[in-house]
């Protein structure tokens, strides 16, 4: 037999409990600084255009992944766009039921080749019409923003 021994009950196995005692401090990089500063101070998104291939990156970066050249033409865009795809989640990452289901969408931001994944709040949405729907970001009030993803509360349907 190819499986000659198997521990069926984990509790009977002698184990040492361990963890990896570490946490992280991530820099956002020079392009990330521009994005989050503009979000905090002006309530807009920053994208960047590659002069060589014309691709407009959002979130912005300092290089074009296609051309492998520096990109420096930063542009401000309104935090509005269209839902490319979405899901409605019912459980959190530990498997517990959410109090109420949440809509999560991938939103292509207008005038860019990129987008952002965030929560969508939409009352009375229809499954048929959410894909392709126009949405805009709802931000925290300027005084409460700290320059992070959470400054965007959610996206809502544009009326």
């Amino acid at each position: 037999m190819s499986i000659w021994r198997k521990v069926h009950v984990n509790k009977k196995a002698h184990a040492w409990e361990g963890d990896i005692p570490i946490y992280f401090s991530y820099t956002v990089g020079p392009a990330g600084e521009k994005f989050f500063t503009a979000l905090k101070e002006k309530g807009v998104f920053v994208a960047v255009r590659c002069r060589q291939c014309g691709k407009v990156y959002l979130p912005p970066r300092i290089y074009c992944e296609v051309c492998m050249e520096d990109v420096e033409e930063f542009v401000e865009v309104q935090p509005e766009g269209r839902v490319v795809t979405w899901t409605e989640v019912t459980r959190d990452s530990r498997g517990s039921l959410l109090e109420k289901p949440e809509l999560i969408g991938f939103i292509n931001i207008y005038n860019t080749d990129g987008g952002i994944i965030h929560k969508i709040v939409a009352k009375d949405f229809s499954k048929e019409s959410l894909t392709g729907a126009e949405v805009k970001a709802v931000l925290k009030p300027p005084a409460e923003r700290s320059g992070e993803l959470g400054d965007i509360l959610y996206f809502e349907l544009k009326v």
């Binding site: 040492w16 361990g18 005692p21 570490i22 820099t27 990089g29 392009a31 290089y63 992944e65 051309c67």
Partner: protein
């Protein structure tokens, strides 16, 4: 070992980012800087690159799981065949071996090899990540960290050969001084043996100035098949030999005073390169020097010094830039910095520049034709070796 290799392969470009304690740039951005520099002097463009190899050490340093995938776009791998190469600290030199394989096999004509590490993301210190590379039931409960593992090995090396601490301190003096001439340096410095020995004892016999720092950086090289290399480069640097080897991860089952696995890796590379007398045929060497004694330990494993005799050669100046066998002319990990995987590829870059006579103030004086870079790592048990030559 059957040597039925299809193609000759050369390095045609090399580049790296600055090495620093805490970079503002993300790991992707550091990778981009290195790739851009490597491509600039290679005669090739990103369109000419047929595949990409990325070396980056534990995910826990950058704090990004599947770090290879995360870094891919910064490494120039957008919609290209891409593979991650990983043997811990040995990864930087393992990566050129991997890249060589991609081209020597006939699979691809060109390969971009990138190595990156951003250790400053890990808090409070990357030592917490190092702790978890050791055996979870036998070693980790003691709170093991890298310093005391190295200390045990260093003490064994010194005890077996009766090497005084002063001799080991000379490695720090040489490499930190060499590092002053490296434009990317983080820790180049003029220090004395006295200052090294008066620096804090972190785990006997390891003193603070005998330890390389944690660093953020990236390095890259461009590899091409012989026909392409001759066409695009005035001076291709040929990959003559590669070798790699792993010892047991149970470091209690071997004597730490000598790195047998480094010797095995070196012998493999020498055989492939047709080198029978490495002390005459290798003209410049970049052995892995994360700790001062490791350079000596590795020079012996590489058969470039008799066992226990590397310290004497060091004292005689053999390993200085103007010596018979310059060792770590870049400054190495002690004199430039130690961005784990990128540190190994940084050594490959240095051999490339030295052999082409492009090392500027760091240029060695013996007009080198053939050089060797070596990295080391995993659980103190991997050796990776590459031999490069302009002949």
């Amino acid at each position: 070992m059957g040597l039925n290799i299809k193609h000759k392969v050369a390095v045609v470009g090399a580049g790296m980012s600055n090495v620093m304690r805490r970079a503002e740039e993300t790991g992707r951005e550091l990778s981009f800087y290195a790739v851009k520099e490597a491509l600039k002097n290679s005669g090739l463009t990103i369109e000419d690159v047929e595949c990409v190899v990325m070396a980056t050490a534990p995910d826990a340093f950058d704090g990004v799981h599947m770090k290879g995938e995360y870094l891919a776009d910064g490494a120039g791998a957008f919609r290209k065949p891409y593979m991650r190469s990983y043997v811990g600290g040995g990864s930087g030199v393992f990566a050129i071996i991997h890249g060589w394989y991609m081209v020597a096999s006939g699979m691809f004509k060109t390969c971009l090899v990138v190595a990156e590490e951003k250790m400053s993301s890990a808090q409070p210190h990357p030592q917490a990540a190092f702790n978890s590379i050791y055996d979870h039931t036998l070693e980790r409960p003691l709170g093991v960290n890298l310093l005391w593992i190295f200390a045990l090995e260093m003490n064994r090396y010194m005890s077996v050969h009766k090497i005084p601490l002063e001799d080991i301190a000379l490695v720090s003096v040489k490499n930190k001084r060499n590092g002053l001439d490296h434009p990317c340096t983080q820790v180049g410095a003029e220090v004395t043996v006295k200052e090294v020995l008066e620096s804090e004892i972190m785990a006997w016999p390891v003193h603070r100035l005998m330890v390389s720092p944690t660093s953020d950086a990236a390095a890259a090289i461009v590899i091409a098949r012989d026909d392409i290399a001759r066409r695009v480069s005035e001076q291709p640097v040929w990959i003559k030999g590669v070798g790699w080897n792993l010892d047991t991860a149970f470091w209690t089952n071997r004597d730490l005073y000598y790195p047998d696995y480094v010797e095995k890796a070196a012998r493999m590379a020498y055989e492939m390169a047709g080198i029978t007398n490495p002390r005459k045929e290798i003209h410049v060497v970049e052995p892995y020097d994360p700790f001062a004694y490791k350079e000596l330990h590795h020079l012996e494993g590489l058969l470039l010094a008799d066992r226990g005799k590397a310290p004497e050669l060091l004292k005689k100046g053999v390993f200085d830039r103007d010596g018979e066998l310059p060792s770590c002319p870049s400054g190495g990990l002690l004199g430039v910095g130690n961005p784990i995987a990128a540190a190994g590829l940084m050594k490959v870059c240095e051999i490339f520049w030295q052999l082409r006579g492009e090392a500027g103030k760091r240029q060695v004086k013996n007009n080198p034709k053939t050089g060797l870079a070596q990295a080391w790592g995993d659980l103190m048990q991997v050796g990776t070796v590459v031999i490069l030559s302009v002949n």
